[in-house]
Amino acid sequence: MQNSEIFDKLSLVFKDIFNVEIQPEYEAKDVDGWDSLKHIELVNAIESAFGVKFKMKDVLSMTSVKSIIACLSQKL
């Protein structure tokens, strides 16, 4: 899957959870509500949407849109 396709699909997940349109350069601080409490909900939703399974190492590294895409592109 191309990174642009990953981004488009990821945008839908963010829209569903945080009701926000993301930009590729966004970090956790740029998305209102993306804190440690909502992080796992986001990770679970990404897993469901892309049909992948993340390790805890990945979960901890996913602190920006860029790092999520990097993580997903390794698995897809």
Binding site: G33, D35, L37, H39, E41, K55, M56, K57, L60
Partner: protein
């Protein structure tokens, strides 16, 4: 004499002997403060080293070895910190009649076992590589500045600095400045406030006037802040002298606007530790996933998700409370913060508002909430905390036996006001400025602070750091 001598020896010996110099100095430091438990520190080091090697070696049984390692390290913490509390609790609940062992808490055990746990878990997770050099791992676990009272350093933050760190005169200067700031926070502010606080909290709540009860609680909050952040400054400064950069532990917590925000600024390394090694793993556990799915089918999806988050939050915060000490008051202290964080999450208080007035009221709420919480933290038992809080809210017919001036003299009032002032980021531009005149002024100020600290140490009896008992 320990510190100047160590700095001289450290910079006198060749680079290849510097780590071993620091390791030996750290053991001497610990042996001087807690000779009885040096064996325990060394045992944890050996256990952690062996566990790391085993986790890396047995790839197929990694999960089992990692769980065994975590349980083994936790055993030492639980035995020395919570065993007598468990016996007492069982005796009072079930009349079991155990002979309670009164164990002296090993100095720094809550900090160095947490570093050991983070290392073995990170090796298991593949976050860091196993350390095969025993002395390098031993240095990470025993390095004396953060050993007793944090910050809790992750191995991933330390790994690269063991063999490849830059020592420089600039770093030594910065480190010494930070050390002086920390020392003055402790002896000029925290210890002076401690005198006022002790005079208030030594009395029964019904003998303290309501305004004095509020002042006592807020003064104790400031005392803990200056005491603990002072220690962290000293630890960060000392590490810098030897070329190490360790994480910050405080970021003006009293300027926070919610309890969630507060814990991102207060004892930062502890709350981050619990987030990465407890909260996330619980949230990702199969049990929670199953419960979450069942709830989603039974009730509304959003209510189910929020209920699971709140459950995991309360569980995590009860353990954060108990990390502070084996007592019911600490459990309630943790749950109180967990409960408020849950409410903030459910009502969206932890989101930043665009209206300054809303942020201002959130800030006032935060100050009230943490002042109330610190009473539970301070109290000898829950009944005292409850009575003290009743007094603060005018629900106790208190009759003060002393006039207000009994509790503080002019010097203590000045320190109290300064303590409030410096708890907020009002001088950040001055502190960060590199202008030569400002740098000169800062150096003069540091010398004054150092002299005042020495004068204060000579004048007052030595008081230990509050977080030493955790």
């Amino acid at each position: 004499m320990f510190l100047p001598l160590l700095i001289l020896v450290y910079y006198f010996v060749g680079k290849r002997y510097r780590n071993i110099t620091l390791f030996v100095a750290s053991l001497l430091f610990y042996a001087f403060l807690a000779p009885k438990y040096l064996w325990l520190l060394l045992t944890i080091v050996v256990v952690t080293y062996v566990c790391g090697i085993l986790i890396a070696r047995f790839e197929k049984a990694k999960g089992f070895v990692q769980t065994f390692s975590v349980c083994l390290i936790l055993f030492f913490l639980v035995y020395f910190k919570y065993f007598s509390f468990l016996q007492e609790s069982l005796n009072s609940m079930f009349h079991t009649g155990f002979n309670v062992f009164e164990l002296v808490l090993p100095l720094g055990i809550s900090f160095y076992t947490f570093q050991a746990l983070s290392y073995v878990i990170d090796v298991g997770r593949g976050v860091c590589k196993v350390q095969k050099n025993f002395f390098d791992l031993a240095l990470y676990l025993t390095l004396f500045p953060p050993l007793i009272s944090g910050p809790i350093v992750r191995y991933t933050e330390f790994e690269g600095q063991i063999t490849n760190r830059e020592e420089s005169f600039e770093k030594v200067k910065l480190g010494l400045s930070r050390f002086v700031v920390g020392l003055s926070k402790k002896v000029i502010i925290a210890d002076v406030l401690g005198v006022v606080v002790d005079k208030i909290f030594i009395q029964q709540p019904d003998l303290i006037a309501q305004p004095i009860a509020w002042i006592g609680a807020f003064a104790f909050l400031l005392q803990v802040y200056y005491d603990f952040s002072g220690y962290s400054d000293m630890a960060i400064g000392l590490c810098l002298i030897f070329g190490f950069s360790i994480p910050e532990n405080f970021n003006y917590p009293l300027s926070a606007t919610s309890i969630s925000d507060f814990w991102r600024r207060w004892n930062i390394t502890l709350s981050a530790w619990f987030k990465d090694y407890l909260f996330y793993p619980i949230m990702r556990s199969n049990f929670i996933k199953v419960v979450s799915e069942v709830l989603k089918k039974a009730i509304n999806k959003s209510i189910a998700t929020n209920s699971v988050i709140v459950f995991c939050l309360l569980l995590t915060w009860s353990l954060i409370g108990l990390w502070h000490g084996a007592a019911l008051t600490f459990l309630i202290y943790g749950l109180y913060h967990g409960f408020l964080i849950s409410l903030e999450f459910l009502f969206g208080v932890n989101k930043k508002s665009k209206l300054p007035l809303v942020e201002f009221f959130k800030h006032i709420y935060l100050l009230f909430a943490v002042t109330i919480g610190i009473v539970i933290f301070r109290a000898e038992n829950f009944i005292y905390a409850f009575e003290y809080l009743k007094n603060m809210f005018g629900l106790l017919n208190s009759k003060s036996i002393y006039p207000a001036l009994y509790y503080f003299d002019t010097f203590e009032v000045v320190i109290f006001i300064l303590a409030i002032f410096f708890a907020f980021p009002v001088f950040t531009k001055f502190v960060q400025s590199k202008n030569s005149k400002v740098v000169f002024m800062k150096n003069i100020l540091l010398i004054i602070l150092l002299l005042l600290s020495f004068a204060q140490i000579a004048d007052m009896s030595y008081t230990t750091f509050i977080y030493f008992k955790f």
